[in-house]
């Protein structure tokens, strides 16, 4: 569809709506609006954002696909219960500011969530339009609409109002999405809030993990700037558990409550032969070098090096694996293989990322898994020996268990292997807090209504509680925890 055709379509739809309204049948017929994106060949050579976002015309047409269902099933699919139907209807009417304020009732970071939420497993999974087409990718594109109104707001100068100072001090540990929301909400209640971050830059996984081409750093920085304007003190290079312990913060430094949102940062390795060879990276290391440390600029501006690979295998099937594979491509790799031991259907990555990865030329090797990594006399990786798999009976997660096919070994020649098979919680804090109750996986045990931990005054949320999960879940828990903290501090008064 050309731009002028699209404008014509919107015009016709609006006219029809005025003359008697759009019937559900009419709405089903409206073509789903794809988001404009950079050409796959061009974008594989740059780090700019892949999807460039809806125009107003796109957005209003897409919003007109919404049926305005009475029971709004989309809302039930949203982990933080954004009033989706209501904001989509506002967009259809062209009332973007209203749409944004409806979203902001429940979500503080719409520009982020619109980009990275796995909508096809959440709001778009339950959307009536998607159900009708039996395909969540043909549901109303709720995420793209959310992104549209958030981006339109631009670098919003508006700073949320802060209540009168309470004189109470709150420590937020970790500056990921959960920490950002918890900091904002406790600050709004008038507490003196300090946000501690171990790295030299705040933002958590949104800064060191998720690449620029999917989530521009400026968006995250904007949120951090807003926190600073609200009066949140941001302290980087502060490793809680090392620089100071939680106990010291509470007992010696005058903090009245703490939120622990340190994420699940420890990379899993496979435990196979050759995993410490030169050229084997965890996805965390690879992405941190490329994103946070800007290794793509090594030799021109940045000081942190990264392997300049010809052929790369990424092991895994989640968002992290897609990000690593697409980053390798942008760093100049000629061949990038994605090795996953189940099938595409079981991949936990967002559908859009899988689609983009394929478009860009990532080669999918499904039902395969490395058995060992091969190296030369310099311990430099030369290849990986894989086994083929087939799907057997379902396992605990309900997904069919992959079973290795005996004798199916084969070798892929390459020079870099990136392991992206999940992360687990970092024990740095729990090691220094024996009284903090944790599960056998190392995640922190909380009361889900308040996110309070077993230690009075200490709350937790995000990946350190749920295990590696999502931005929106972390945000949701950050918000519940902030409410929990605000209530705890109000009671502490008396």
């Amino acid at each position: 569809m050309t731009d002028s055709e699209r404008r014509q379509l919107l015009h016709d739809l609006l006219q029809k709506q005025e003359n008697g309204g759009l019937k559900p049948r009419d709405r089903y017929e409206i073509p789903p609006q794809d988001m404009p994106e950079q050409d796959p060949v061009v974008r594989a050579g740059n780090v700019n954002e892949v999807a460039t976002g809806y125009t107003e015309t796109h957005a209003r047409i897409e919003a007109l696909r919404c049926l305005g269902c009475k029971n709004a099933p989309c809302v039930n699919g949203c982990p933080v219960r954004i009033r989706i139907r209501d904001f989509v209807v506002e967009i259809a009417e062209g009332r973007y500011e209203q749409a944004l304020s409806i979203i902001k009732e429940n979500s503080l970071l719409p520009a982020v969530c619109g980009r990275v939420c796995p909508q096809e497993n959440q709001c778009q999974l339950t959307c009536t339009v998607g159900k009708r087409f039996k395909d969540p990718t043909r549901a109303v594109s709720i995420g793209r609409l959310e992104r549209f109104v958030a981006d339109r707001d631009g670098r919003s100068e508006s700073v949320p109002a802060v209540a009168a100072e309470t004189g109470k001090k709150v420590a937020i540990v970790g500056s990921g999405p959960g920490g950002i929301v918890a900091a904002a909400d406790t600050r709004r209640a008038g507490h003196e809030v300090t946000l501690f971050e171990a790295f030299h830059k705040p933002g958590g996984v949104m800064v060191y993990g998720i690449p620029e081409f999917r989530l521009p750093k400026a968006i995250v920085q904007n949120e951090i700037d807003t926190l600073a304007k609200m009066g949140v003190k941001i302290v980087c290079n502060f490793i809680v558990g090392k620089t100071r312990t939680v106990q010291q913060l509470l007992e010696e430094d005058g903090f009245d409550a703490a939120y622990i949102g340190v994420g699940a940062g420890l990379p899993n390795f496979m435990g196979i032969e050759g995993e410490s060879l030169v050229g084997v990276y965890s996805a965390n290391e690879y992405l941190t070098r490329a994103n946070l440390m800007k290794a793509y600029g090594y030799g021109s501006c940045a000081d942190t090096p990264i392997a300049r690979s010809k052929a790369v295998a990424v092991v895994g099937g989640g968002n992290v694996a897609m990000d690593a594979a697409r980053t390798a491509l942008r760093l100049g790799a000629e061949k990038v293989y994605l090795v996953y031991r189940r099938t595409e259907k079981e991949m936990p990555a967002r559908i859009e990322e899988v689609h983009h990865a394929k478009q860009e030329g990532i080669e999918f090797h499904i039902l395969q898994s490395p058995k060992r990594i091969l190296g030369d006399q310099n311990s430099q990786v030369t290849g990986v020996e894989c086994l083929k798999y087939e799907l057997g009976e379902p396992d605990d997660s309900g997904r069919r268990r992959p079973v290795a096919i005996e004798g199916s070994e084969f070798t892929i020649d390459l020079d870099t292997v990136i392991i992206a098979i999940g992360n687990k919680p970092n024990p740095l804090i729990s090691q220094t807090m024996p009284e903090l109750e944790i599960t056998k996986w190392g995640t922190i045990v909380v009361n889900e209504e308040t996110m309070a931990t077993s230690v009075p005054g200490v709350f937790a949320g995000g990946d350190i509680v749920s295990g590696a999960a999502t931005v929106i879940l972390a945000m949701g828990q950050g918000r519940i925890a902030a409410a929990g903290i605000n209530e705890y501090l109000a009671k502490k008064d008396k």
């Binding site: 410490s276 965390n284 311990s379 740095l428």
Partner: protein, 279 residues
């Protein structure tokens, strides 16, 4: 938080020491721990440096570093009053200090910097300290005076230290414990010696790091056949179980690229100083 350099000294051709403001790190630090520093927020590399000592009254930590590449060269060009943008720590596990009896401390090159606080602490709790300190040549030797003060016996060598170490191990009674810190190859040779005589040997490993908190795995080594992260499981390990050959390969993973970067920085520096001279 600002991290001002309060004083700086050149110890040998390529070795420098400085006291840097970092009151919280100074307070929390115990011997054996390190910091990760970087010189600006956008493009600088993060590098680990051992905390060689602290001054609690001043709120400073001392660092001792050897100019080997771009970042350490840039650091060497900073002057008192300048700031180090980022200092994070203290990281890693502190040295397990115990009364062993007779302890041999073998240090090579810049490894003498992390070794000194350990030797001092061991001495303070009543160990007998024999130090073997070395450098490629006598001019490059640092901290000789400090080691002389701390040690009951001091041996100076221009080799990797494994020969005098072997002699000590052959004597009766043999030492109860060895600490070896220096270039990977030196630690490897020392461990080869002490393994023969069954003398427990602690080494401090200097792998490439990024975060220093267990998050990237870039610092991993093979220990007793299994992967360990130097930043959170170390930096000190039972040297008899470390796969040094693999560790050395990993250390040189970016060698040629880094040499180029360092050359480029030196070039740039020459040009800058030429311009300054002209002015």
């Amino acid at each position: 938080m600002s991290h001002r350099i309060v004083s700086k000294k050149q110890l040998s051709e390529d070795v420098f020491t400085a006291k840097v403001e970092a009151p919280l790190v100074a307070q929390a630090r115990r011997p054996g721990q390190f910091v990760i520093i970087s010189l600006n927020n956008e493009y600088a590399e993060r590098i680990p440096l051992t905390i060689a000592g602290v001054d609690l009254r001043e709120g400073t930590i001392s660092l001792i570093w050897q100019r080997v590449g771009k970042t350490t060269a840039e650091l060497s060009d900073l002057q008192p009053g300048d700031e180090i943008a980022n200092v994070a720590g203290p990281l890693g596990n502190p040295t397990e200090l115990e009364k062993f009896g007779t302890v041999v401390c073998v240090g090579g090159g810049i490894g003498l910097a992390p070794l000194l606080p350990i030797a001092e602490a061991l001495k303070a709790i009543g160990n007998r300290i024999i130090s073997i300190i070395g450098a490629r040549n006598k001019e490059l030797l640092i901290l000789e005076e400090e080691f002389a003060r701390t040690s009951d016996e001091l041996i100076i060598t221009t080799d990797d230290g494994s020969e005098p170490l072997a002699e000590l191990c052959q004597a009766e009674p043999k030492p109860d414990k060895v600490f070896a810190i220096g270039p990977a190859i030196m630690m490897k040779f020392c461990c080869d010696v002490t393994r023969q005589f069954d003398v427990p040997t602690e080494v401090s490993l200097n792998t490439i790091m990024i975060d220093g908190t267990g998050m990237c795995g870039g610092c991993r080594i093979e220990f007793d056949g299994k992967a360990k992260f130097v930043c959170v499981d170390g930096p000190e390990f039972d040297g008899h179980k470390v796969n040094f050959d693999l560790m050395m390969k990993r250390l040189s993973a970016y060698k040629s690229a880094e040499q180029k970067e360092h050359e480029r920085y030196k070039d740039h520096r020459c040009k800058v100083s030429e311009i300054k001279e002209k002015e």
